[in-house]
Amino acid sequence: MTGVTLEAGSGSVMLRIGDDGIAEIVWDLPGRSVNVLNPESLAAFAAAVDRVLGDPAIRGAIVTSAKSGFIAGADHAWLSALAAGATAPELLETVMGVQTLFRRIEKASKPFVAALNGTARAGGFELALACHYRIGVDDANARVGLPEATVGLMPGAGGSQRYLRMLGVMAAMPLLLEGRLLAPGDALKAGLIDAAVPPGELLAAARRWIGAAKPDALVKRWDKPGFVPPGVDPRTAQGANAFAAAHALQRKRSQGNYPALDAIQQVVYQGWVVPLDVALKLEAKYFVKILRTPVARAMMRTHFISLPRANKLARRPVDVAERGIAKIGVLGAGMMGAGIAHVTAAAGIAVVLIDRDQALAARGKDHTQRQCQAAVEKRRLTPAEADRVLGRITPTADYAALAGCDLVIEAVFEDRALKADVTGQAEAVLGADAVFASNTSTLPISGLAAAARRPERFIGLHFFSPVERMPLVEIIRGRQTGAAALARAMDFVRRIGKTPIVVNDTRGFYTSRVFATYIDEGVLMLAAGIAPALIENAGRSAGMPVAPLALCDEVSLELIHKVNRQTAVDLGPAFRETAATRLIARMVEREGRIGKRAGRGFYDYPAEGRKRLWPDLAGLAGARVPSPPIADLKERLLAIQALEAARCVEEGVIEDAGDADIGAVLGWGFAPWTGGPLSYIDMVGPAAFVAACERLAARHGERFVPSAWLKARGEQGDLFHPMIATKAS
C-alpha cells in the first residue's frame, strides 16, 4: 500500500493505492471534526478521481472517510457565502461542476464504491449515490439521506434525480420533501444502500465487491437503453393522480411557505420525463434559484449559524471552568418535573426526584418507567439501558437526599410561597457551590431569588412541554444571577442534548411574552368581528403550527383568564383591559367555555369527528366586519410577534438575535420558513417593517407602534443579522 496525499485541496483528501490495485480515496479535512464539501475538498477529490481514472494500474476506488462520519454535505459557510455573494450564472457553474464530477464517477469504467463509515448527509450522500455501490455500517447511530428540505434547500448534486430513479416517485417524494435521514438498516431496505456490514469489515467488503464487479455492474440502470423510473408515470391517469395528491399534501403541510418544496416537486416531475443528464441540469438550476431565496437564506442562517452557536454555548461565560454534573435534584414530580428527571437520567446524570410524599415522587418516576418501556418496545433502547436510566432516578420525599447535588431544579406549582418553601428546604442541605434553578414560566426569577440564600446561584431554567420532545430550554438570568450559575445551567442543558437560549428577567421572559402576542392578536381579531375561520386559516397559513383560537383552547381559556387576572393584580393601575381580555373573561365567566379539556372553548369538541368552531362565536364580537384579505391577517399575526421580539432586544431581555430566532422556532414553532421573528424583520426589510408597523398601528391600535429605537434602525437599514447583499444576476 502506498499513500499519496494529493497536493490539491490543502490535504483534504488522501489517496492510498493498494497492492491489489484498489485505491482508497479517504476524506479527512484538516482541522475539522466532520468532512464537508467545499472548494478545497472538492478539488482534492477531483484530483483523486483523475488519478484513479488515469492510472492504468488502478482497478477501482473506495471512497471513504477518516472521520467518525462520512461527509456531512456542503460547507455551510461556503453555501451561505455563495447564496449571498455569487451571481446566478456563477452559482450554476459551481453546482454543475460538482454534478459533472459526480457524473464522471458514475460513468467511469472502473468501479467506485462508497464505504459509508458513518453518517452521510446531503452532498455527502449525493456523492455516494453517484458511486456504483454503497456499503453502510451496522451502526444504529449512523444516518444517511438528503435533509436539505429541512433547512429550506433542495438537493443540488443529483440527489433528487437519483432518488427518483432508484426508488420511484412515491418512495422518493416523501424522503425528499421531509428531508428524512435513515439508519443504515432502513436505507438498505429502501434500496438507497446496497449492503450494511460491521464497521471493521467495511473496507474488506468494498474490496470484495470491486474484485467481483462485472462490467454490467458499472452501468447504472438509468444509463441503459429503455430505462424508465420505477413506480408510477406522471403521464398516466394513475400517475397523474399520485402526483396531484403528492402536490396537495405538500401544500397542506407547507401552506405554500417553502419554495424549496415546490422546487423539489418540480424537478421530480420534470425529471421523470427527461433523461438524467437533462434532469441534473434542471435540478442544478432550481437549486441555484432556491439557494438565493430569502426563505432559504433565513432558514440556513437559523439552522447553520444560530443553532450551532447556541448548541456550542457561544454565550457561556468563558472564565468559568466547566465542572462535571453528576447529580441533580428535581423538586416536584408532576408532569414537568417527571419529564426533566427522565431526560436527565437518560443523559447519564443521577436524579433525586422529590415530592411531598414518597408515593407522589414514585409516580413521577413511573413516567420514566413508561417512557423507557415504550422505547424498549420500539427497540430504541435495550432493556439493560432502560434499567440503567431508571436506576439513576431516586424518588423520595426526603430533602436530605439532595446533599451533593450540583444543580437543583424546582418544578412545583406556580405559587411564590410554595416555591420559597421548597427553595429553603433544598438550600438547607445543598453545598455552597450548588446552583438552584426554577422551572417557572411566569414568575420573575429575581423575585423568586429573593427567597434564596444565595441569589447569585439562583437561575431560571424554563423547560417546554412535553420535555422529551421540546428541544429548547430558556435560561433566565435574574438580576443577581452570577456567571458560575449561568455556566452550570448552560453546561447542563447541553449535557441533556437540548438547546439553550439565554434571556434576562422580565415578566414572561422571552418566549412566553412573545408567544402571548400571537394568541392575543388572534383573540383581538375575533373581538373585532373578523370571521373565526379566517383567523384560524390565517394562523396556519402564516406558518404557525396551531391556529390562534385553537391554541387558546389547548392552553385553556380558563388559564389565560387566570393569568390575565393575576397580571391585573400584579400590575395594578398599569394593567390595561383590552378587547381580548374582555372576550376571554366573557368566554370563561359568562359562557362557561373554558377550553378543550372541558370540550367547550372557542371550538366544540364532539365525541366523534373533528372539532368545529363554536357557531355562536361570531355573536360575541358584535358587528361582523367584511373579511379582510388573508394576507393582512397573516402579516398581523407575524408582525406582532416580530415586533415584540424586537422590543425584547431593545429592552435587553434577549441579547442575541440568533437566540431570539431559535427560541421562537424551537420554543413555540414560530413560522419556521422565516428563520425566526428577527429574521422575519430582516426579510421584510428594516424600513419596510417599520412602515408596516406604522400602518398596522394606524388601523389596529398602538400595540403596533414601533419604538424610536426600531424606527432609527429602520432609517439606518440596520439588520438584526447583518449579511452581504446578494449580487444581481
Binding site: T236, A237, A245, A248, L249, Q250, R251, K252, Q270, R612
Partner: protein
C-alpha cells in the same frame, strides 16, 4: 353577419360507462359514426355539402386520439371533402363544437357544419390524456388545483347547500328524467346503437335510477371526503378560500353526473344551405360565449357565461323560456339557479346528467338537443344552454326557435 341555423340534433342513448355497460362493446369510432350516419340519413344530407365536422372529445388519446372527427367522418362514408376536427373544452366540448361551427357559418367561411361530440368513458377513462394541469406542480400550485368534486363540495359549503338540498335535487332530476322518458320526450332525437349484426344494443339511457329516494341517497357515503381530507385537497381549496373552516363533503355518486358512453351530432348551416339541403331550420343561434372563472372552485363559470351570452343577445333572464345547465354536480345547478334567480320549473325540465349521465365530450351537444326538443314540444321560443367546465370555465349558447 350571416345567421346560423340549426337543422337537426340527435344523440345516442347513454350507456353505463363500465365494462358491463351496453355500449362498452362499441368503439368510440362506432359511436361517432352512428350519429354522423344518422344525421346524414334522416336528413337525406348530401355530405358533399358539409364543410367540416367538429367533434368534442375530452380524452382524445388511444381510440379517441388522432382527430376522431375526421376519422369518424371517413368511417361514416361522408364525402372525403368533409374535413374534421376534434376539439376539447373539457365538459363543454360538445357545445363548444356547436359554437365553433356557428362561428364559421356566421363568419361566412362555412355553409354546412356537423358539430357534436363523443366519449366512451368506459373505454378511454377520465385522465387518460394526462396533462400538465394537476401533475406539473408549477400550475397545480398556481391554480390551487383540487379535483372537481372538491369544487362542487366547496360550492355547497360556501353557499350553504346541505346534503338534503343536493340529494333533493338529485331525486328531482331522476323524477324528471323518468317522466320525460315515460312521455317519450326524447324519442325524436334518440338514435339507438346497433351491434355488428344490426341488432339493437341500447335504445334508452341506461344510467337512470327512477326509483331513487332521499332515503336511498342518504345511505351513500360522500365521494370526496377521503381525497379531500387524506390527500390534502381540502387544505389546498382552503388556501384559496380561507374563509372556509371545513369543506362539507355532500356529493356522492347519486347526486353527481354519471359516467357513461355516448355521442351526439347537430347539423348547422346558413339559411341558403338549408334550402340547398331541402331542410327547414328548427332554430337560430342567437349568441354564444365561453368565459374563464376561478379555477380552484372550478364549476361556477355558467353564471358568468350566461350573463355574457345574454348580454350579447341583448336579453335578460326574463327573455329566456327554458334553461339547460349540465348537472355535473347538484350544487352546481343550485348555485346557478340562485345566482341568476331562476324559477326551478324552467331549469333542466327533463332531468339531466345526474339521472342520465355525462359523456364528457358529447354532453354539450346532447343537452343542446334536449333544449331544442323541449322548446318545440312546449311551443316556446328562447332557450339557454350552458355547462361548467374544468379548470374554471363556462360555455353558453342562446337559441331561438323560428
Amino acid at each position: 353577419m350571416t345567421d346560423c341555423y340549426v337543422y337537426d340534433a340527435l344523440r345516442t342513448p347513454r350507456g353505463r360507462g363500465r365494462p358491463d355497460g351496453a355500449l362498452h362493446e362499441v368503439s368510440p369510432l362506432e359511436l361517432a359514426t352512428t350519429v354522423l350516419a344518422a344525421v346524414r340519413d334522416r336528413n337525406a344530407l348530401d355530405t358533399g355539402l358539409v364543410d367540416d365536422v367538429i367533434l368534442g372529445c375530452v380524452e382524445p388519446v388511444g381510440e379517441q386520439g388522432a382527430d376522431i372527427a375526421r376519422i369518424a367522418a371517413l368511417n361514416a362514408d361522408y364525402a372525403e371533402t368533409a374535413a374534421g376536427v376534434q376539439i376539447n373544452r373539457f365538459c363543454a366540448s360538445g357545445l363548444e363544437a356547436i359554437n365553433m361551427a356557428a362561428a364559421k357559418v356566421m363568419a361566412g367561411q362555412s355553409d354546412v357544419v356537423v358539430a357534436g361530440g363523443v366519449e366512451s368513458m368506459s373505454r378511454v377513462p377520465m385522465g387518460a390524456s394526462g396533462g400538465a394541469w394537476f401533475v406539473d406542480p408549477a400550475i397545480a400550485f398556481k391554480s390551487y388545483f383540487a379535483p372537481q368534486g372538491i369544487g362542487a363540495d366547496l360550492i355547497a359549503t360556501k353557499h350553504g347547500y346541505t346534503r338534503t338540498d343536493v340529494d333533493a335535487y338529485a331525486v328531482e332530476s331522476q323524477r324528471r328524467a323518468a317522466a320525460a322518458w315515460g312521455e317519450g320526450r326524447f324519442a325524436k332525437s334518440i338514435v339507438p346503437v346497433a351491434d355488428a349484426l344490426g341488432l339493437t344494443l341500447l335504445e334508452r339511457d341506461e344510467h337512470m335510477r327512477p326509483d331513487t329516494t332521499m332515503q336511498a341517497l342518504g345511505a351513500l357515503a360522500p365521494s370526496f371526503a377521503k381525497i379531500g381530507e387524506d390527500m390534502g385537497f381540502d387544505a389546498v381549496a382552503q388556501l384559496r378560500y380561507p374563509e372556509v373552516e371545513a369543506i362539507e363533503h355532500v356529493h356522492h355518486a347519486g347526486n353527481s353526473s354519471g359516467i357513461v358512453d355516448g355521442a351526439a351530432a347537430v347539423l348547422l348551416g346558413t339559411r341558403e344551405a338549408g334550402t340547398a339541403m331541402g331542410l327547414k331550420p328548427r332554430a337560430r343561434i342567437r349568441s354564444f360565449a365561453s368565459i374563464g372563472s376561478e379555477p380552484c372552485i372550478m364549476l361556477t363559470g355558467p353564471v358568468a357565461a350566461s350573463e355574457k351570452v345574454l348580454k350579447r343577445a341583448g336579453m335578460t333572464t326574463a327573455d329566456v323560456d327554458l334553461y339547460e345547465l349540465n348537472e355535473a354536480f347538484a350544487s352546481v345547478v343550485l348555485f346557478y339557479r340562485d345566482a341568476l334567480g331562476l324559477d326551478p320549473a324552467t331549469l333542466n325540465v327533463n332531468g339531466g346528467a345526474i339521472a342520465m349521465g355525462h359523456p364528457l365530450g358529447a354532453t354539450g351537444a346532447m343537452v343542446f338537443g334536449t333544449l331544442l326538443d323541449e322548446l318545440e314540444r312546449r311551443g316556446l321560443g328562447t332557450g339557454l344552454v350552458t355547462l361548467c367546465v374544468g379548470a374554471g370555465m363556462g360555455t353558453a349558447t342562446v337559441i331561438e326557435r323560428l
